[in-house]
């Protein structure tokens, strides 16, 4: 009944008209409302950076699903964030090609530079560091993604170049 308690007016107080319009657009292509679950989550995340409990409940209601069903979808995918993330998410590949190419030491440098480990966000809220199994760029290993940008041939220098003390802002 927890879901029933969120009535339609609650949904529109959480989701913006724009978001609902985008979800409606997805719904046009799908026979079952719940089929739009992933797209709806992506729409919310695109605008807000992550999916809060409140948003998740609102989307569930909007799509006629239970929060549990949608939670199952949301948490299944590593790239749907159910906790706040920094402005950019660093997806650091720790899969086999990158590992052979020495990603472990690069990761150490990255962590030292940013002051965060996997799953953590820098104090200035600019970066969240997450591991990823493969980015499909093994020929240029080690690699990572910073926001939407792929960064290849990683080494300590490259890390320093990208995240020098001044750039991260919290390394005073």
């Amino acid at each position: 009944m927890s879901n029933a308690k969120m009535i339609q007016s609650d949904v529109s107080s959480v989701l913006t008209l724009q978001e609902m319009a985008e979800i409606d657009h997805e719904l046009e292509h799908i026979p079952y409302k719940s089929g739009a679950a992933i797209d709806a989550l992506k729409i919310i995340q695109a605008g807000r950076g992550w999916v809060s409990d409140e948003c998740l409940q609102a989307i569930a209601k909007y799509l006629g699903m239970s929060s549990e069903e949608l939670e199952g979808v949301a948490t299944f995918y590593n790239l749907i964030y159910r906790r706040p993330v920094g402005e950019k998410v660093i997806l650091f590949c720790d899969s086999v090609s990158c590992w052979i190419s020495g990603c472990d030491s690069v990761k150490q440098t990255l962590s030292d530079t940013l002051g965060v480990d996997y799953g953590e966000t820098t104090k200035d809220n600019r970066y969240t560091l997450l591991p990823v199994p493969c980015l499909g760029a093994c020929d240029r290993a080690p690699v990572m993604m910073v926001g939407d940008d792929l960064v290849t041939h990683l080494d300590d220098n490259k890390i320093n170049e990208l995240f020098s003390a001044g750039k991260t802002g919290d390394q005073s």
């Binding site: 239970s66 948490t75 159910r82």
Partner: protein, 921 residues
């Protein structure tokens, strides 16, 4: 039937089954986790690995999953092959990587499928030395304890809860090695069938929370075959007792009735047996209103003195056994015996019993209801009035999916594939009710009508079926739906307290005029139907008739019945305070008992034996789990002794329970089958009685040494073929005598398959229970009633809402059930709420004549015009009567209840283990 070879051995198998089922049917021990006979296969756990060979010459073979591989003529498999055995052991070893070593403190220990499988595959030494994953557990309400660390990711919980039981608030979350089964956020599980998670989970993730508070190992529990007293469905249960307390209730398989599952009222609603309200001694009332305890004989002598040779009458009980009711009726004479229904109930039960005996339709078992491919429900919220039936109806709508699967050549056990194929295509179900029902989510059509209009709708469907023209398109559509179905089912019942609704259901069933059509009625209590059959001759009259006679009576004897729940307070006061001596037999304190002059402490269902007749007319026997505590006696023994003291001619000749059954069977043509319900007291299995205790029952002579160091003799059971002992065999006996399931190597409830003649089939001991009523060819005589239905001018109709937790008199005394029941409520639609400017959780004053109740507001999504629902059976709603007209106004003094309602025992169970959890990205 095809032949297959398993390790060279030729095995005859059933066409279409899978090799796991074939192995289990052949008595071979093939380990499994995720497969469940009621839920089919998904091949998720990889435990049931075998080697399959292409032909005789193939010596290598390949590993296959037993539950996903259909058998075919001449197929060759090996269970013993080394690589298959290694594979199975490796699966368990990998599950053990994260499984805690907490068996000694785990409630599942000793009846754990994971333990059994670990031993079965021979996995002993753990090689993994790393850290184990840990999870944060959730508070899931007062019934279910959550311990995610023990999870082996078999998905059974989710598949049961969501796919089978239709729950929406439990699901699989996250993925790979941080998979999590739980809710989106902490809170009470919403499903009325959540308790089955305890038995479905192969390990200790979901355990019985009330049981944890007073825990004993399975092997230390004394059990007996019993019948649930929570409603009229008659689910078979196996309560477990130790130290004189019923500690938990488990499902007891009966293929025709409950199968593998029971509802939460049945599983958790027996806590009242251990409540402080229970009576231990007989008592005689002091002038100041208190009772002083007397010996059994003194009570009997006193009662006999008041009754012998005097003008006496008796009130029976729909929650007491057939035998106790029979004895009481014989003792006072049929003309002086009132069934103990309220007047309204008596009328409804009378017409239901008549209809069941005359209708052309089958009165189906639950198993038969699952086969329905079109369902019409008239007026019942089945989930709350006959919960286990609702679970069957949920399965019936899947027949469409099975039909589609058959067309595709897909076996029904291919669960994921069948569900994928069907998506949300379901067999049709039409629900016609005044208010929301808990089956609305699977119904194809929901029609909201006031009770009178429901009856009219039913008659319109009947008319349409008879080929008449109606001006009601949805009735026409419903008639069409039933007409085209192979196994149409009509469900109605007494919960609307409306004669017309019941009659119209019968009219539809007869108009259908099909050999396969089914008609089922939900009736209120565990023996309502049995009692109604007993008084079908109408000799005793109604409760109101008795009230009129009361002043002339010398003594009135009441059997297990709080008559204040059966009539107006003023009427009952008049009955009990008329100067008549009132003798009451009951198990616990209640208002009727307070007004009695003499009380006799009755044994509960767990301390006595008896026969109940379920809503399908199935007579079933329950047996004592333990001998009665203190000076309680089973009601039938009280009454038999009383008859002896009074020198009753006929009853004095009866000595044993079996004699009463025989006499009762002779008393009524419909009861002839009673003698076959269960074996006689003299039945022996290989010369021994059936043991209620397990082989490993511990501390039998020492467990009461805290009370007395004298080792007491084990109590003797002189009335049944069961013994209070561990000696004897729990094997090969008739099914009605199966106290628990256990088999060597199979300590969990999965050992049931060793008691079944085939996977998901009947028990080896044969069917249990005897159906007393069969359908007839004549058709119910309803022609007059059709004209009687008059549609009243629309006003506020008070519609009773039965609640699984709260409306039942006895289970409501269980702490956990009371917590779930919450406060008495009034259910209204959004529009009415807005008009009265109240919202969910506010208070409303409900005025019905001189009765005024203050009730909590609940908002429903579907409400018939001018109808409001109320929580029937709740103390707050006492005095309100179904169908009456009421006025509403906001209650200015109302205090909203806070969140403390669901948090009562949170602190003691919350063990927060951080590092992980569902939303750990």
């Amino acid at each position: 039937m095809p032949m297959i070879y398993v390790d060279g051995q030729e095995i005859e198998v059933v066409q279409g089954e899978n090799i796991l089922e074939a192995c289990l049917n052949a008595g071979l021990d093939l380990p499994y986790f995720c497969w469940h006979p009621a839920m089919g296969s998904i091949g998720s756990c990889r435990q049931c690995a075998l080697v399959q060979y292409q032909n005789e010459d193939d010596t290598r073979g390949r590993i296959i999953m037993g539950c996903m591989t259909p058998v075919s003529e001449g197929a060759r498999f090996s269970l013993k092959a080394e690589n298959a055995a290694e594979f199975r052991e490796a699966v368990v070893e990998s599950l053990m990587l994260n499984h805690p070593h907490d068996c000694p403190v785990c409630a599942e220990g000793g009846e754990c499928h994971l333990q059994d499988m670990t031993v079965m595959v021979g996995h002993r030494d753990r090689r993994y030395t790393g850290k184990k994953n840990t999870y944060r557990n959730q508070y899931l309400g007062p019934l279910i304890h959550h311990e995610m660390n023990r999870c082996i990711a078999c998905y059974r919980c989710e598949r049961y809860y969501r796919d089978y039981a239709g729950g929406k608030d439990l699901g699989a979350q996250a993925s790979h090695d941080h998979l999590y089964f739980g809710r989106h956020e902490e809170g009470v599980l919403e499903s009325e069938f959540s308790g089955n998670l305890v038995e479905v989970c192969p390990t200790g993730v979901f355990t019985d929370k009330p049981f944890l508070k007073q825990y004993s190992r399975k092997w230390d529990l004394q059990s007996a075959p019993s019948i649930c007293q929570g409603c009229a469905v008659g689910c078979n249960i196996a309560p477990g007792e130790r130290y004189g307390k019923v500690k938990r209730v488990h499902n007891r398989y009966n293929q025709d009735v409950n199968g593998y599952f029971i509802c939460d009222r049945g599983r958790f609603g027996s806590g009242y047996l251990n409540s402080d309200l229970r009576l231990d001694y007989a008592g005689i009332k002091n002038p100041d209103g208190s009772f002083f305890a007397v010996h059994q004989q003194q009570a009997l002598d006193t009662a006999a003195g008041w009754m012998a040779g005097k003008k006496i009458a008796a009130i029976g009980s729909p929650r007491a056994s057939l035998e106790a009711n029979y004895l009481l009726r014989e003792l006072v004479g049929a003309k002086n015996f009132v069934a103990g229904f309220s007047d309204q109930e008596a009328e409804l039960m009378g017409s239901i019993t008549t209809i069941l005996q005359t209708t052309k339709a089958i009165n189906p078992s639950i198993k038969q209801m699952e086969s329905a491919d079109a369902v019409l429900i008239l007026g019942e919220d089945v989930t709350n009035t006959a919960p286990r039936v609702a679970l069957a109806l949920r399965q019936s709508v899947r027949n469409k999916a099975f039909e589609l699967a058959e067309q595709m050549g897909l076996p029904a056990w291919q669960d994921a594939a069948v569900r994928n194929l069907a998506q949300d295509q379901r067999s049709p179900m039409t629900i016609v009710s005044a208010l929301d029902t808990r089956l609305d989510d699977v119904a194809s059509t929901c029609v909201s009508l006031a009770p009178d209009d429901i009856a009219a709708f039913g008659y319109a469907v009947a008319a349409a079926l008879a080929g008449e023209l109606t001006d009601n398109p949805s009735a026409d559509a419903t008639a069409q739906m039933l007409k085209t179905a192979k196994n149409p089912l009509i469900v109605s019942g007494s919960s609307m307290a409306h004669q017309g609704v019941i009659d119209s259901a019968a009219a539809v069933a007869d108009a259908l005029d099909k050999a396969t059509s089914m008609l089922s009625f939900c009736v209120p209590e565990c023996n309502s139907l049995g009692l109604a059959l007993m008084v079908a001759d109408g000799l005793g009259g109604s409760l109101s008739d008795l009230v009129k006679r009361a002043p002339k009576l010398d003594a009135l004897i009441i059997l297990e019945n709080d008559v204040y729940l059966r009539g107006d307070k003023s009427q009952i006061d008049q009955l009990l305070a008329s100067g008549t001596k009132v003798i009451t037999l009951d198990i616990h304190e209640n208002s009727t008992l307070d007004q009695s002059d003499l009380v006799m402490a009755a044994a509960s269902y767990a301390e006595s034996q008896g026969t109940l007749v379920s809503s399908e007319g199935r007579a079933q026997r329950f047996y004592p789990v333990h001998s009665p505590a203190a000076e309680r006696l089973p009601s039938w023994q009280w009454l038999l002794r009383l008859a002896n003291v009074m020198g009753h001619k006929k009853l004095s000749k009866l000595e044993h329970f079996d004699h009463i059954v025989a006499a009762c069977a002779k008393s009524n043509l419909l009861f002839a089958g009673l003698v076959d319900v269960a074996p006689l007291n003299s039945f022996r299995d290989r010369g021994s009685k059936i043991p209620r205790q397990t082989h490993r029952y511990s501390g039998r002579t020492a467990m009461n040494s805290g009370v007395s160091v004298h080792e007491p003799q084990q109590p003797k059971d002189h009335e049944s073929p069961l013994s209070y002992s561990m000696e004897g065999l729990n094997r090969d006996q008739p099914s009605s005598l199966m106290p628990f399931v256990w088999s060597p190597g199979w300590n969990s409830n999965q050992s049931l398959q060793k008691f079944q003649s085939e996977v998901d089939g009947p028990l080896k001991g044969g069917p249990s229970g005897v159906r007393l009523i069969s359908s007839s060819l004549q058709g119910a005589d309803l022609s007059q009633q059709i004209d009687k239905v008059t549609l009243t001018a629309h006003q506020w109709h008070l519609v009773p809402m039965q609640q699984i937790h709260g409306s039942d008199e006895l289970s409501a005394h269980t702490e956990e059930i009371a917590e779930l029941a919450g406060r008495g409520f009034i259910a209204i639609g959004q529009k009415v709420a807005e008009k009265l400017s109240v919202s969910e959780g506010d208070g409303l004053l409900v005025t019905q004549g001189e009765v005024e109740c203050s009730l909590e507001v609940r908002i429903l999504s579907r409400v018939a015009k001018n109808c409001i629902g109320y929580s029937v059976g709740y103390p707050e709603a006492q005095g309100l009567t179904a169908g009456s007209l009421v006025s509403l106004k906001a209650d200015a003094t109302w205090q909203r209840s806070g969140a403390e309602m669901i948090a009562s025992d949170k602190a003691s169970f919350e063990q927060v283990i951080s590092d992980g959890g569902a939303s750990n990205v």
